[in-house]
């Protein structure tokens, strides 16, 4: 369980997150909202990339500490940029990050395109490679920031398949997106942010997503 209590993030004069209190359980949770609503910031705070001005983030009741490596190992993060080196091949990128994590080199899952340079890939394959990079150390928490942005249906399917393959009991995925349609088809819960505040927080039941 990931808990945020009174989290506030400020960039200069802009309040990106304002008193956000949430609990996110296992399964896939969608984070929805318009541009500037705080979705990316929320993921970055959970990942540890941003330190909130106030408030706490805890994992299974244990407060996050920036130097806590065991906690970092539980988290895989793919931002809205690929987080890969365009001049290196997909395989080289994944080997690089696997070596840094001390993990065995993961299977790429891109067929012959695994030996193509990332800069030569289509947007969909690049996003698929980005998710593979986030999963290289087998995290139990996956944070994806707008993984379907700018992708056509076929490319978005590639990313969706990667998430579904990774999904398993005890694992948590938090996915920020503009377009709720694709994600709602397999998300277990949803959070709507507006102007840095939680507008609604709901979980899926047999009858659908309800508050």
């Amino acid at each position: 369980m990931i808990d945020l209590a009174g989290v506030r993030v400020v960039y200069g004069r802009t309040i990106a997150l304002d008193d956000v209190t949430l609990s996110i359980g296992e399964g896939v949770t969608g984070v929805y909202g318009p541009n500037g609503s705080g979705k990316s910031t929320l993921l970055r705070v959970i990942s540890g990339l941003f330190r909130p001005a106030s408030g706490d983030v805890s994992f299974d009741g244990v407060p996050r500490h920036p130097a806590d490596e065991s906690l970092r190992r539980r988290i895989g993060y793919a931002g809205h940029e690929a987080g890969l080196y365009p001049r290196l091949t997909v395989r080289e990128n994944l080997s690089l990050f696997a070596a840094l994590w001390g993990a065995p080199a993961a299977s790429v899952g891109l067929g012959p395109r695994a030996d193509a340079r990332v800069g030569e890939l289509s947007s969909g394959l690049k996003r698929r490679a980005s998710v593979a990079r986030a999963l290289v150390h087998q995290p139990s928490i996956l944070l994806l920031d707008k993984p379907f942005a700018g992708l056509d249906d076929d490319a978005a399917d590639l990313v969706t398949d990667a998430i579904k393959q990774w999904r398993a009991p005890g694992r948590t995925a938090i996915i920020a997106t503009h377009g709720a349609k694709r994600l709602k088809s397999f998300a277990d819960a949803g959070i709507v942010l507006r102007r840095g505040r939680v507008a609604s927080d709901h979980a899926r039941t047999a009858a659908g997503i309800v508050r």
């Binding site: 330190r51 993060y77 940029e81 070596a99």
Partner: protein
């Protein structure tokens, strides 16, 4: 240049070396930094060659205002101004490869010590700068008829090495800071140049000695040499410690 990665657990040095290899592989394939530095260095050197009055040679002096200055000192200044700005061109791009595709974030989340990230970037910058100097210094000596024989080249190598270490430490730290800002190209020289002044004054003084006929023993005996050594140690420590704060959000 391929980036073959062995499947074994890496420590601080292993991760640092891996990141250096990554940077060099990226530069070898993209050639986005080194050609610009070389083009700048050789163009400026050529232009400076035309600024000296006819007949000015090592051992003579040129008029400057009411007095005169030894040609060796002028040439030493030329060399280091060229290296200074060529280096800044390279450092400005040091984090560009990570910034464009957001690769810094996964690096920050990976279990890699921030000082290893700093050390790897500094080492990559050092290699790039050294490549420029390997071509520039002999060409400079040839163009200005500077005799670096008889062991004087050892003096030049020592000074260049000491200057480079301090220079890349400062340049890497401030390029990381500047990379966080929108006006990064402007910020790097604004931040770095004031700090680099003592290093480059020492460099100019010591290199003038070598151009005037001194060897390694001559430069090692001067106070400026000690200042360079001390600067390297201080900037290496500050860089490794401050890098985390430079990139922290």
């Amino acid at each position: 240049m391929t980036l073959a990665v062995a499947e074994k657990s890496l420590g601080f040095t292993g991760k640092t070396l891996l990141l250096v290899r990554k940077d060099l592989a990226v530069e070898a394939r993209g050639r986005e930094t080194l050609p610009g530095m070389l083009a700048f260095a050789f163009t400026v050197t050529l232009l400076l060659a035309f600024t000296l009055p006819p007949g000015a040679a090592v051992g003579s002096a040129v008029r400057l205002g009411q007095g005169s200055v030894a040609v060796t000192e002028v040439l030493s200044g030329f060399l280091w101004v060229t290296i200074l700005f060529a280096g800044l061109i390279g450092f400005a791009r040091a984090f560009e490869v990570e910034r464009t595709e957001g690769a810094l974030e996964p690096l920050f989340l990976a279990p890699v010590d921030r000082s290893a990230l700093f050390a790897s970037k500094a080492a990559s910058n050092l290699v790039t700068l050294a490549v420029v100097e390997v071509f520039l210094v002999p060409a400079f000596a040839l163009l200005f008829s500077i005799d670096l024989g008889g062991g004087r080249w050892l003096g030049v190598v020592a000074v260049v090495l000491l200057v480079d270490i301090g220079f890349v430490m400062v340049g890497t730290l401030f390029s990381a800071l500047a990379a966080q800002t929108r006006s990064r190209e402007v910020m790097l020289p604004i931040l770095a140049l004031p700090v680099l002044v003592p290093i480059f004054i020492a460099a100019t003084e010591l290199t003038a000695d070598v151009f005037a006929g001194g060897g390694l023993g001559t430069v090692a005996a001067r106070g400026w040499f000690g200042i360079l050594v001390a600067s390297d140690v201080v900037f290496a420590v500050i860089g490794a410690l401050a890098f985390e704060f430079a990139v922290d959000r």
